[in-house]
Subunit: 454 residues, 2 copies
Amino acid sequence: MTNGLIRSLLTTENPFNSTDEVVAWIERRNREVVVQVDEVPFAELKGWHFDEATGNLVHDSGKFFSIVGIDVRTNTGCEQRWTQPIINQPEVGYLGIICKEFDGILYFLLQAKIEPGNVNCVQLSPTLQATRSNYTQVHGGKKPAYLEYFQNATPDQIILDQLQSEQGARFLRKRNRNIIIRVDDDIEVGEDFRWLTLGQIKALMCRDNTVNMDTRTVLSGLRLEGDGDSHWASYLFASEKTKTGVMTLDEILHHLSELKSRYELTLEKIPLKDVKDWSATPTEIVHKDRRFFRILGVNVTISNREVARWCQPIVQPLQEGLCVLFVKRIGGVLHFLLQAKVECGNFDVVEFAPTIQCLTGDFRQSPNPPTFVREFLEGGIKGKVLFDTKQSEEGGRFYHEQNRNVIMLLDDDVEMGIPENFMWLTLGQIKEFLRFNNYLNIQVRSLISAINYV
Amino acid sequence: MTNGLIRSLLTTENPFNSTDEVVAWIERRNREVVVQVDEVPFAELKGWHFDEATGNLVHDSGKFFSIVGIDVRTNTGCEQRWTQPIINQPEVGYLGIICKEFDGILYFLLQAKIEPGNVNCVQLSPTLQATRSNYTQVHGGKKPAYLEYFQNATPDQIILDQLQSEQGARFLRKRNRNIIIRVDDDIEVGEDFRWLTLGQIKALMCRDNTVNMDTRTVLSGLRLEGDGDSHWASYLFASEKTKTGVMTLDEILHHLSELKSRYELTLEKIPLKDVKDWSATPTEIVHKDRRFFRILGVNVTISNREVARWCQPIVQPLQEGLCVLFVKRIGGVLHFLLQAKVECGNFDVVEFAPTIQCLTGDFRQSPNPPTFVREFLEGGIKGKVLFDTKQSEEGGRFYHEQNRNVIMLLDDDVEMGIPENFMWLTLGQIKEFLRFNNYLNIQVRSLISAINYV
């Protein structure tokens, strides 16, 4: 497996379909499929209603998800107590990718999938992307394609199987099962599906809004233990093999225990009607200063989904976000600068986030922006930008949300102090934390998956 | 460090105090210290009151802990929905042990500490056992002894630093910071403190209610990588070195992801007054059938605590529990049979529990007792009992709660099927899961700490 995976990582050549053909195919799908997303007042949001007692926005079946309130208290950050609306979806969905070896190279089966919130309607999604409501068919739709491969997978087929968190500030402790399985038998490839090498997927990530968040998070957990044939790949493979970097794994765990003990985070679910400074109008749930995000109702019609037409609430951000990951050679080994960040929906007080993560406020105007933001925006940090694209959040819940994702290799001679909650980790250490749950947030996983080896 | 630790594990000889002297010392402390625990009606529970709106039993300061209600739903087990009272203490306390090497052997500084709920009033506790309320001195008492050693510890002093869960059925997602630090400087030994070898502590665990739960959980995480000088120790060290047993670590993680996805657990905090089938009388909070546990108010007077006199609610179990850990040589390597168990206060749906864990019902009378209970009680499983004592739960919250703890080495030729949520793990795998948070529950940690090498 390992050899097939590493060859897949290092090649963008593909006899099934070249990268250009994949791009053309996505563009064609975008033209062919009819997608209509209309904003509708909540009163016309079929299947949904505001619960009388709580004011929560809920589905008539009591399933899917709901919009509820939370009351958050913490002892860190500028805001130490607030209430806000949040998406409540207490179920674990599947984000699954099937892969298969052809001629010694591992290929990943991705789907050109439309989500109502996507900026580019069609993006490359995992083979299977299904909430529990989907795969238990609460909404009466078709059974998701390829579901049975995951349900019947034997332990020797599993390449990766992790429960990973979703957006902590928008989802109340939501997680998905990130799973990759290997299939040896022949498998039918549906018209919306294509076999791609890992190198191709990473090349496609360099295009704005092309590879969806779910694909990115699933692929981030792959352990890539190879030997480099280029200078850059050799550095990455060496970092992956390094389990002790600037800090040992035990020192990192100790420091996380310290931070998790010192930082308090308590969160109470409250009725949506008790959320302060936010109001539900006939058309939106919005903060009094129109900050952060708004929740609206949409009527969706898509022609190649399990269900062609439905209504749902969706979350629209009110600013564009910025996620930056700093990389630096320290002692000759590549290290990544992560911050242990408190986010209200986190399972465990803090999770590792990118060096810079600005998603919920206007960081450009802030008199007191987060660490490194000003230096980064003003070009005050010397280095080379390896990756700089706009990536979408999950289009099933987020409307036209795209964030700028940057990976920057700092010059070797850059010296900088870091706050107490920042740590330099090797790729090997990052992958070890990914094996266990709830250590790296979805934004940093997205950036890790974007690291290109060629 | 490792050599000093392994020598400490394998010796019960101690120039400071022999094991007999320690036993005599605990007995003497038990006689000397005046402890009075009187049950009082809630109306006389000074500093505490029932909140008017919620019916929750709370401290007047809003700090310490409170008794609240939870509404639990799951799709596994015989009860799939229930409400119950639970202890809410959303803060991370310290359970810390200082150790120091003398003549090449590591010694652990334990305290003869009285807790109001202890069966034997005095038990051997960690050097430091402090809730955040304690060490931030909310109650205005003395600063806990040795606190500054932990607050000022440098990374190279840390032997272990883990956030581990408390009793999942009684505490709402409570965790403590389990920490062991090594000190090289001279250190004053208070009159309630003694230096003990790990071998001595394990020998003392073979006595009923002598080593408290907090000491047991802290010590359970120690990695013990040695070479045995006895047949039995060699087997244990070999199991600790074995990272791949019947299952690989990835297979165990995969199976846990599967179970965490399939088993649902949702838990809502509710007002205590909305808990069904339980009622608060003037003297107790109790289930209508007097099952599970009751909560009462006590007036405590102890002469060697930070505060000599206080009132508090305390939880009294209404039956004695049973925890059993099966051990078996498989392929020549010792494996431990753990069950992935759903408990309502768990952070992450399931945690590993002992082979048998019966704490919340009368398992002897049950027509349908949990797996292996009947066979075990009727002697239907062939093997050798290595450990069989009564151990107390934490005496600060639990009143006279003692559970039978058993470790049983199954005969090599015992063949048995196991339910889907049971797995055989090596000691090496168990220790790997202990490094990360929330994988092993407090009952199994207690049993792991009791494994004796001599």
